[in-house]
Amino acid sequence: MKNSLNKVIPLKQAIEQYVKNSSHISIGGFTINRNPMAAVYEIIRQKICDLHLYAHSNGTGLDELIGAGCISKLEIAYGGNGKAAPTCIHFARAAQNNEILFEDYSNYMMSLRFTAGAMGVPFLPTLSGFGSDILTKWGFSKSMRRSDPKIVDNKLAVIDNPFGDWAGASKVVLVPAINPDVTIIHVQKADATGTCSIQGLAFADIEQVKASKHVIITCEHLVTKEELRQNPDLNQIPFIHVSAVCHVPLGAYPTAVFGHYDYDSQYLRKFAIAAKNPDKFKKYQNKYIYGAKDHDAFLDIIGQERIDTITADPRTGYSVNMKRD
């Protein structure tokens, strides 16, 4: 139901309802910013597994999901998490130990693939990647592709420009559309019907949402329809794309939300350090994820002092002069 009815449900229920074992999913945000972390932790708590994740550069969320064993297949452009982990720790280990199947693209290619999905076309063209191993090395084999109707038969295609050398291009790389089963993003404002306003960079969130069969929105502020209608120019996502709305303040913590809070570099470093050691990581998970029944309980463990530290300055939208580890 993606019409104009009230779609507000608890996050736990939204994850139960839309994210199943083996679902193909994507999450919003970029490295340390606006990842839907409350939803990520809830997926981990519900022990959902065998997920196929489409990622451009979804650092923190990506690596928590891999660390918890939720992901079996990954299409990805970038597995890094800012200063805390130039390469995501779990991602690297899982790749090195063949714990996940992965396939590499560039950030533009992944963004275009979501855009193609949002547009309802089978592919989009780019001039990126000629001569690179991104074109030649496939993470998913031909036979695996052919046996799975949810995975496109070809990683990419190269065709001659059917318009001669129009626009100076002799050849074009075509990247196939992605239409995830579910996309989850975290936004600053949403109303009960799912219309969203994202403040600051949108990354590829809008395309990911529009490409998806189901969409879960978590939001800092659940606002009235009237508030959002006062400036339709700031609403990038109209309600027709949205399946569920969950009101989760600090729902992107420990990643940043422009205008609201900064990333918690101390938490991110703690996560990265723990990730390097299986025992430490188990303790980390038991304390912060499994040890909390929901995001509010998780935030209680974090404590108000950390939250105060990262709270954004209203002028700049981030925490000015915050100590960043």
């Binding site: 490295t31 590499d104 963004s111 990126s128 690179s132 191993d133 990354f203 700049t316 000015v320």
Partner: protein, 258 residues
């Protein structure tokens, strides 16, 4: 007159990269030292250059140094906050793309300026897995000039990449064009030892500048492939003005310089 501290390797690298940036350039920047080079250029020699990020922010004020290209610090006071697709289109479109100079890092580079940021060992079962392309492959495909920042070590300046993530001159000569790419890719490599460029005809890396107290031979020793050093000259070291601006205006807290 105050005496000035001798420059560090990071400082000379930053200044050498900054000198590549011209007034009016649009600088595609990552974080860390590449951000610092962009800021140094803006403060020293290219005041009208514009910093922009693959995440979609352009000409951000940067009151504080961002630690990631998705840092909220880049969203403040930008000319426009857009999306990934917009940022990459700005580079793919030759009208704007021709003014872009990119700053990239890599785990490996070969003699043709091709970069590996993906893995060491077999792709499917790597010994070491890195972050992957990010926007690197796109940028190296689209824009006419890229600066590669590298530590100059034999295992990084390799005969053969384990994975070709971002195209440079591919196999040299006109193979880049033949493959379907516009002229571009890495055009200059700035390391802790010197500055390398690429021969216009062959596409092969040559030594352009070596730093004071570094010899061309030392650079060769740290490079797995053969490299022409016949054109090499001693680099002009960072000037007092350059160092002062870099230290006092670009990174007074030495967040990146240390």
């Amino acid at each position: 007159m105050k005496t000035i501290q001798p420059y560090t390797p990071r400082e000379i690298m930053t200044i050498m990269a900054a000198r590549e940036i011209k007034n009016g350039d649009i600088v595609f920047s990552g974080t860390g030292i590449s951000m610092l080079a962009a800021m140094a250029a803006k403060n020293i020699n290219a005041p009208d250059s514009v910093i922009f990020f693959e995440t979609g922010a352009i000409d951000s004020l940067l009151e504080e140094l961002p630690f990631a290209v998705a840092d909220p610090r880049i969203m403040y006071w930008a000319a426009a906050n857009s999306r990934l697709t917009d940022a990459f289109a700005t580079m793919q479109n030759p009208i704007t793309g021709e003014k872009v100079i990119a700053i990239l890092g890599a785990a490996q580079i070969d003699r043709y300026g091709n970069l590996n940021t993906t893995c060491i060992g077999d792709y499917h079962s790597p010994e070491i897995r890195f972050s992957g392309s990010g926007g690197g492959c796109d940028v190296a495909s689209f824009v006419p000039r890229c600066i590669a920042f590298m530590q100059h070590e034999k295992r990084k300046f390799v005969k053969k990449l384990d994975y070709l993530t971002s195209p440079g001159q591919l196999e040299g000569n006109n193979s880049r064009q033949k493959a379907g790419l516009r002229p571009g890719g890495v055009s200059v490599v700035v390391t802790n030892l010197g500055v390398m460029r690429f021969d216009k005809d062959t596409g092969k890396m040559y030594l352009d500048k070596f730093y004071p107290s570094i010899t061309p031979e030392k650079i060769l020793k740290n490079t797995e492939f053969d490299m022409d050093i016949s054109r090499a000259t001693l680099a002009d070291p960072p000037t007092k003005t350059e160092l002062t601006i870099l230290r006092e205006e670009c990174d007074p807290q030495r967040l990146i310089l240390d």
